[in-house]
């Protein structure tokens, strides 16, 4: 019998272009003030690891898209990207 095992997925949630990111701006400015003067921009997002009990990559992709749309991202201001291992 084939073990279903656990599928791992990575979800990246980032602010859409044009949406102000005060936290990223503050961190970017901090780096610049520390001497990393090459830092010209910095934006902060979220990285979410999800473990799924499923064997179908296709199903996992569909379900993860739903999860992102419903809860993990607020699509008014955020984009998301999913990677399944």
């Amino acid at each position: 019998m084939k073990d279903r095992g656990v599928m791992k997925a990575k979800v990246f949630v980032t602010l859409k272009k044009g949406v102000l990111d005060p936290q990223g701006k503050a961190v970017g400015e901090a780096l610049a003030s520390m001497g990393y003067s090459e830092v010209k921009g910095l934006r902060i997002g979220k990285f979410i690891e999800v473990e799924l009990d499923t064997s179908s990559k296709e199903d996992a992709g569909k379900r993860l898209k739903e999860m992102c749309e419903k809860l993990l991202a607020n699509t008014v201001v955020e984009d998301y990207r999913v990677e399944i291992e």
Partner: protein, 228 residues
């Protein structure tokens, strides 16, 4: 009339709302646990301020899926009176009952102080006790009150008079200096298109009695009660 005040795990202004509705305004008021699934017999549903689910992921994002929220959405779609204050406003936007989103304050700081807001529209069931352009002195207390929506949504809100309060000077001027959190167009409170769902970052329930520092928030409750 009967106010129902929803209690999420992490709500902390539920008691203030209860006190304002029941003891100051003399109305019936009851708490509703977030796992309840009936809003029968209530005339107005209040989503209070606080830090529901510790603000994990995004403010209001998890509370929006509390069992009671299906009923709140149903109640609102039937035209029921719903008011969300602070975290309640954040939950209403996450639930899609109000447009836009409340992002981290521009300053990245939690801001807790009194501000002035100007009443932009007094032709609503929440603001009919105020004069148009009346200036209210009301406290804010939030880290995520920076109202944002895309240009089309903002235009629609402006065109339909759905912007209810704007941060202003004491004299009623809308300037960037008095915008505490970076909100687009100094937006502090909005209403849905149908006019029955209201969201505000300022806390009217905290200024309903002079002994607590002011009465400028009473009008919200008076308006709702008068209209029912």
């Amino acid at each position: 009339m009967r106010f129902g005040i929803i209690v999420f795990p992490g709500s902390n202004c539920d008691h203030d709302c209860y006190h304002a509705a029941k003891h100051v305004m003399g109305q019936e008021a009851e708490y509703i646990w977030h796992k309840d699934t009936s809003l029968k017999g209530f005339d107005c549903i209040v989503l209070p301020g606080g830090f529901s689910y510790g603000d994990y992921l995004r403010t209001g994002a998890i509370a929006r899926f509390s069992p009671v929220m299906n009923e709140v959405i149903h109640f609102a779609n039937k035209g029921g009176c719903v008011i969300g204050i602070c975290n309640g406003f954040q939950i209403l936007t996450e639930a899609g009952l109000l447009p836009g989103v409340l992002m981290r304050n521009r300053s990245l700081k939690f801001i807790c102080r009194n501000v002035y807001v100007r009443v932009e529209n007094n032709q609503t069931m929440f603001t009919n006790a105020y004069q148009k352009n009346q200036i209210l002195n009301i406290p804010i207390a939030h880290a995520d009150g920076n109202y944002f929506a895309d240009k089309d949504t903002i235009k629609r809100l402006e065109d339909n008079n759905q912007i209810i309060f704007r941060y202003s000077t004491q004299g009623g001027r809308i300037t960037e200096d008095v915008n505490p959190n970076g909100s687009v167009n100094n937006i502090a409170a909005i209403i849905n298109e149908k006019g029955n769902v209201f969201g505000a970052m300022p806390h009217p329930e905290r200024v309903c009695e002079s002994i607590l520092g002011g009465e400028d928030g009473r009008g919200i409750f008076e308006g709702i009660i008068k209209r029912q």
